[in-house]
Amino acid sequence: MASALINVPERAKRGEVIEIKTLISHVMETGYRRTQLGAPIPRDIVRRFVCTYNGTEVFSADLHPAIAANPFIAFSTVAVESGTLTFQWTGDNGFSVTESARITVE
């Protein structure tokens, strides 16, 4: 099971811009490498990352093989209301991981 690390501040002031850091463990196999016997290794990457804030999409990314293994993405969003931030990674071979984090906005 893949595991994800998410760093979201637990509480923030209304209207504050918060930074969110995410990391997911994934090999991000490019599809361009070969085994020592010369057989190509098929591509296996995370293709898409989406962050939703109480159901509204606030950030997304389309990833290509040029993203390093264990994709790290840091971005920011405006703390508008208390609620849940949901993070979803989807990719090749049916890869799909969803994580969420609570934030309290005062």
Binding site: S60, D62, A68
Partner: protein
Amino acid sequence: MNRREFLRATGGLAAGIGALIAVEPASATPATMQDAIRKVVGSARVNPGRVKLDLPPLSENGNAVPLTVSVESAMSQADHVKAIHVFNEKNPQPDVVSFHLGPRAGRATVSTRIRLADTQTVVAIAELSDGSFWSARAAVVVTLAACLEDA
């Protein structure tokens, strides 16, 4: 004018000229990257400036090169960054990543880690809500290339 102001003024000028030259289609960038950029921007003009692309000038390991892109923008409903696209010249594929932002992002700064197969130039292009495109580029020297090793 004191020393600091002088340096800022001349430094900005030099950077502007450098970027202008870089965006000329006649520059030596491989055609595949230009094609990939055209696919995203269409026939729109790509202006240099407003984008800051942070990459280490020298990277010992091309398998994970830290990259930060920030765009000067108010990030309001009327004026915000819609997307940031990153391209490279010499990897097997010219696309690196596309980030989709909106006014809810608050700040147009994104970081990630990328792979670079060779010493090359990386280009970041920001798409703004008014339909304009802005770009920045950075050259990276890579001593250990990604993508080539056997598994």
